[in-house]
Amino acid sequence: MDRRFGSWVWLSFGVLASLSWGGERVPEYANDLGPETIDVSSYPPEMQESYKLLQAKCVRCHGAARAINSELTDAKDWARYIKRMQMRPPCCNVCPVISLSDAKAIWRFLSYDSQVRKTGPNALSWEKHRLSLLQAYREKFPEKYQERYGQAANHRKEPL
């Protein structure tokens, strides 16, 4: 009985999830399908603070998943990306004004986090995670996948 109830719950979740993707808008990036949070308890306190900032500022315009599951790893790429985000006007009170110091903190966090989670000993597991997101995106949104990633040689590039 319990097992059957559990199956119904999972099925309902699945239906709701597909309805929400189908009825609303298609996620912009494969990143958006991944987790919205990460465990930063082992990070230095300064990075934990910056993570809070990322969660507060970035989610005003898009899910934190977009940054967390991004293929970007290089500090230089992150700098270019964040500077672009800084140039969103705060006209409808949705896009936050990201001050230079906030932007710098978010940049430091994303550069640090990329090194920890996406390179070195974690490079393989990260690669696997990233590919699974791309695979799921291709299956669920083939047209958008083609538009977003189809032109890139390895089908993995995120346009900056």
Partner: protein, 332 residues
């Protein structure tokens, strides 16, 4: 005898006239740098107003960054981009002294759009490095005008930051306002993309193709944000002197959430138009906008050719004051 007395009288008169001319009062211009504006001209009569300008080629910040920032070798008037705001009165004689220090690599000059005569003054103000030139110009037409360097190649001198605004007030002055700001839009063309840190170099091909890397207010990305945010209060009337140094693009200047009560289009101070949402400001021209502030909040200055905000064309006017639910309120 009578003949000698007559000649003596002429000589005395001539001497007096020369003395009067040499004793002529020359007033130093009060110069300010963006976003500050000098006070209105209080004089009721024309005067000779002297402006001292020094050309300077210097490395400055085009965009603050996370490490060293984006730097650029600006060519400037008095070390600033834009150059100083010059405020004079119609009928004044502008005496411009232009020094070009030896350390510079280029000849420089000044073409003031407010000046009547060849090159707007450029033809007689072209010091080589280590030289200086002085010239006088009678200002015949009131208005808000751009000035810029026109030394060859003029394209590069403007692209590197040599421009500013000169206001020639009408005899009766401009209507009184509570605050005035000086804002100037311009583009920069670099070989590396937007936000790249370190010293950037000028990209002549991008400039020729009119594809700027940066479009900024007052010479730097976010110069009117963070600590540079413009500030005012509700109940105040504000005037913005908005110039466009170009070198290429026409600005669709707009303030999100405001309607310009009066706009003196293209800097013509003779007759404003009213209730303007967005005003076109051509490269090498200017506009004066006046507006009352009723509702508190942040008002974003943009070039409404809107993708340009991503290249830097954005600033904020922060307005403090009590809420005005009679004008602006959320229902649900």
């Amino acid at each position: 005898m009578k003949k000698y007395a007559f000649l003596f009288a002429i000589a005395i008169t001539g001497f007096s006239a020369v003395s009067l001319t040499s004793a002529e009062t020359v007033i130093p211009a009060a110069l300010t740098y963006a976003p500050e504006v000098p006070p209105a001209v209080a004089r009721q009569a024309p005067a000779v107003v002297r402006v001292d300008l020094r050309t300077e080629e210097k490395v400055g910040v085009l965009m603050k960054g996370f490490e060293e920032g984006t730097k650029y070798t600006f060519w400037t008037f008095n070390g600033h981009v834009p150059g100083p705001f010059i405020r004079v009165r119609v009928g004044d004689t502008l005496e411009v002294n232009l020094k070009n220090p030896k350390a510079n690599s280029m000849d420089h000059n000044i073409d003031l759009h407010a000046v009547t005569g060849p090159g707007g003054g450029a033809a007689i103000t072209l010091p080589k490095p280590g030289e200086e030139k002085t010239a006088r110009f009678k200002l015949l037409n009131p208005g808000l005008y751009v000035y810029h360097c026109a030394a060859p190649p003029v394209t590069e001198h403007i692209a590197n930051g040599m421009y500013g605004l000169i206001l020639v007030e009408p005899a009766e002055g401009l209507p009184k306002v509570d605050r005035e700001f000086y804002v100037m839009q311009s583009e920069f063309y670099t070989k590396k993309p937007f936000g790249e840190e370190g010293l950037q170099s000028f990209d002549a091909q991008a400039a020729s193709a009119e594809k700027p890397t940066y479009i900024v207010f007052n010479g730097m990305v976010r110069s009117l944000m963070d600590e540079g945010t413009l500030k005012a209060k509700t109940g105040e009337k504000v005037r913005v002197f908005f110039g466009n140094g170009g070198p290429n693009l026409v600005s669709s200047w707009h303030i999100i959430g405001e309607i310009f009560d009066s706009v003196y289009r293209e800097g013509s101070v003779t007759g404003p138009q009213h209730n303007i949402q967005t005003t076109l400001v051509p490269a090498g021209s200017a506009s004066i906008a006046e507006f009352g502030l009723e509702v508190p909040g942040d008002y974003t200055l943009v070039d409404h050719s809107i993708f340009r905000i991503e290249k830097g064309a954005m600033g904020i006017l922060h307005v403090d004051g009590p809420e005005r639910p009679d004008i602006y309120k959320k229902i649900q």
